[in-house]
Every structure is written in C-alpha cells, then in structure tokens.
C-alpha cells in the first residue's frame, strides 16, 4: 500500500450555532481514489479542511497516516489540499511552479510542465489575471504535480469547461497509475468522476450517509418496475428511496441487498430490474422534498 490513509472518529465542526460536521466517522483507504460526494453545503469542504489541518475539529479525532495532522511537519508534508480556485502565491504562473518545486519534496517538475502545456496556461501571466477556468486548471496542475501521498481535490474542476475537466481526470488517473497515492475527489459532478472511484463516501448535512466500495454502491441501487402490487411485495422491507406510480404499475427506487435470488424472483413476477447509475442513486439518497434551505452554508 502506498499513500497516507485517513481515519476520522466522531469528527465535529461547529461555527457558532451552525453544525457543519456532526460526528463524522469514516476512513479514506491508503492508495485508493475515493469520492467524497455531497450536495453544496453538505460539509465536504469543511471535512477536507479538517483533514488538511486548515482548521481544528470542534470534537473527535483526525488521524492521517496514523498521526494527528495539526502542526505535524511529517504528516503535513504529505498532504496537498487543492481548493477550487487553488491556494497558490499571487505571482506569475511560471513562478508558481518554482514555488511548488521549492516547497514540496515530492514535486514533479516534469509533470507540471507537461500539464501546463496541456491546459495551455500562459506562463508569464499573473495568477490574479487568469480566468476562473485557468485558475482551476492551475490548481489541478499543482494538485497532480505535488504527488502528495494524500491528495485532496475539492471541486477543482468547477470552473473548467468539459474538455478541460476530462483532461484533468485523465491526467490524474495516468499519474496515479504511475505513482499510486491516496486521492480524495470531492465533487458533485458524480457522473464524470464515477469511473475513477474505488470507494465512495456520501455526506449529507454534515453526516456520513453512505460509505462503501463504489461497485457495491452501484450494485445496491436498483430501480424496479412492474405491476404495483407485485412490485411492493417484491421490494419487501428494502429501503425505498422513491416510489412513483403510473396507472397500475409502479417504479420503485431502492437501496440495499435484495438477496441472490432477486433476479429469478423478479423474472417470475414479470418485474424489471435495473441497476442505478451512481448519479441517480446520489440524487435519490440526498433529495428531500422541501429541504431547499438547509443549515450550514459552504465554509
């Protein structure tokens, strides 16, 4: 195994009366690419900031590679937190790369140069004069070239256009294959990052809703359709996320194991079963009607 693992036990973060994280217990496995998924304001940024020691938790414990990261030089030297617009010195793009090379022992100048060319970033332009997409691209360059044992990417692709986003995913994956490390991708563009993920944690209102292997998660989300009564009998006491009826037929989205004989039973009852794409599963898991205004904005 390579890369730093992360263990969170009952981690909470409060801002005054606002609870940003309400007791998060979770782990990011060393050497894996994990997805940290959640709606805006679900606590993704706060969680990553706490792991990278940008802030201290109000309660609970954070362990990175077995140690508390707060003011821990060895552990911090292995963490790279890249936020959307990037935390880079406000100098020329070329000098940002020099800063990276000077400050990070694991920095790859070769990767940085290649990515700079791939994203077509102007070397002589100052960071403050870059467009939003270019700033995002520069942040991605820094995140990948840092080759940190724990790389935390927080909505890095937000300001990029689609070709740049896919270039970013491809480059991340290629460099990860050559130099395995722990990567956490926080995103709400689930469809795009889906195939990169080995493990998934879904945050909702500052709590862990689901933590599982990505494939297991994909296998558990199922959409079942057929004659309403038969569907309901088939579903039994599985967790129903959504139920829609159309005349006498019903479409039910559910999450959980239906047992190994589910397919046979479904065929027998003339019920159709489809696995749910991660994106749809995420929407159904985190959607609550009338929950448009929720406590805890993005911090």
């Amino acid at each position: 195994m390579t890369g730093f693992g992360v263990e969170l036990r009952d981690v909470s973060v409060r801002f005054g009366a606002t609870v940003a994280l309400g007791g998060v217990t979770a782990a990011f496995l060393p050497g894996a690419i994990s997805g940290l998924l959640g709606r805006n304001g679900s606590g993704k940024t706060t969680l990553l900031s706490t792991i990278a020691a940008f802030r201290r938790p109000s309660g609970g414990s954070v362990r990175v590679d077995g140690e508390a990261p707060w003011e821990n030089p060895r552990v911090l030297a292995g963490i790279a937190l890249v936020r959307e617009a990037g935390d880079v010195p406000d100098v020329r793009v070329g000098e940002v790369l020099r800063y990276g090379a000077a400050m990070r022992s694991t920095w790859s100048g070769e990767v940085a140069e290649r990515l700079l060319a791939r994203f077509d970033l102007p070397r002589r332009k100052r960071v403050e004069h870059l467009s939003r997409g270019q700033r995002g691209a520069l942040a991605a360059v820094v995140g990948i070239a840092s080759r940190a044992p724990l790389t935390l990417l927080d909505e890095v692709t937000l300001g990029m256009d689609a070709p740049a986003r896919y270039a970013c995913y491809d480059e991340l994956l290629a460099d990860y294959l050559a130099h395995p490390r722990t990567v956490v991708l926080a995103s709400h563009l689930i469809e795009e990052v889906d195939r990169l993920l080995e493990h998934v944690i879904v945050l909702d209102r500052g709590r862990v809703l689901v933590a599982d292997e990505a494939d297991a998660l994909r296998a558990r989300g199922v959409r079942v359709s057929g004659e309403a009564e038969r569907v309901d009998a088939f579903v039994g006491d599985a967790r129903v996320l959504r139920r829609e009826t159309l005349g006498r037929s019903a479409v039910v989205t559910l999450y959980g194991d239906l047992g190994s004989d589910a397919r046979a039973r479904a065929r027998e009852k003339e019920i159709e079963m489809h696995p749910l794409p991660l994106q749809d599963l995420f929407v159904d898991l985190t959607d609550r009607p009338g929950s448009a205004d929720r406590p805890g904005g993005a911090r």
């Binding site: 995913y169 491809d170 994956l173 294959l177 195939r195 080995e198 494939d215 696995p275 794409p277 994106q279």
Partner: protein, 143 residues
Amino acid sequence: MFHGRDPIYVQIADRIRADVVEGTLREGEQVMSTNQYAATYRINPATAAKAFAELVADGVLVKQRGIGMFVSDGARERLLAARRARYFDDVLAPALTEARRIGIDGDELVERVRAALARDDAAASAAPADPVPTEPARTEVGA
C-alpha cells in the same frame, strides 16, 4: 464506452468473455495488465482488477505471478457451455413468455423456428465454413 446500467467491472468481464468466445483473444494469449486496462479505458485500476479476479475465479484467465494474466486452456469451450446453459433461461424463456402474452400459438412458433433453421443451414452450406461453430446450440433448439 461503458453504459451506466451494470457495474463497470461486470461490463469489463463480459467484454473479455465475449472476446474469448469470438476468438479475438486466443487461449494462452496474454491479456492487458490491470494498469494498462485502467489507462486505456480510463477507469480505476481496482475496478479492472475486480473484473480480472472474477475471470480468474471463473477459470477464464490464469494468473502467472510476475508475468501477467493469460487466457486459460479450454476457456472458450467452458464459456460456450455456460452460455448454452443460460440460453434457455435467459433468451428462450422470455421469448416464449412474450409469445404467450401476445397470443402466438405454439404450433406457429415451432413452424417459424424450423423455417429459420432451414434457411440458415442453406446459407451456411453455400458460404465457406463458419469459424465459430454454433451447431450444438442449433441442434438442441431444433430437437
């Protein structure tokens, strides 16, 4: 590249099985490594590894430590046998259910099947030998 319906590792395993059955991957031939697969199809290597693990467990691939993965001897025949076994449940049974539902009677079905088989046989004898023998399945259906 991949559709969203099945887990990606299932789709990868299915594609490799199909390649073996169709002869694109020959027995004894080396398959791509997990990392090559991940890089080519832009997926997490753990997902590719999971597909390979499933294929090793099924006896389609064999792992040679430090060298790589190879299509195992007899893999194609085993896959064909498994497919034949599933054919009646997965393909024929739903077709018959549908026929019953929409009121096609049994005699008409049998008639149609015989006619279709006869036409295929004629086409096969006119054309050069089919590289993928499918006779066993046909005879069973015809019987």
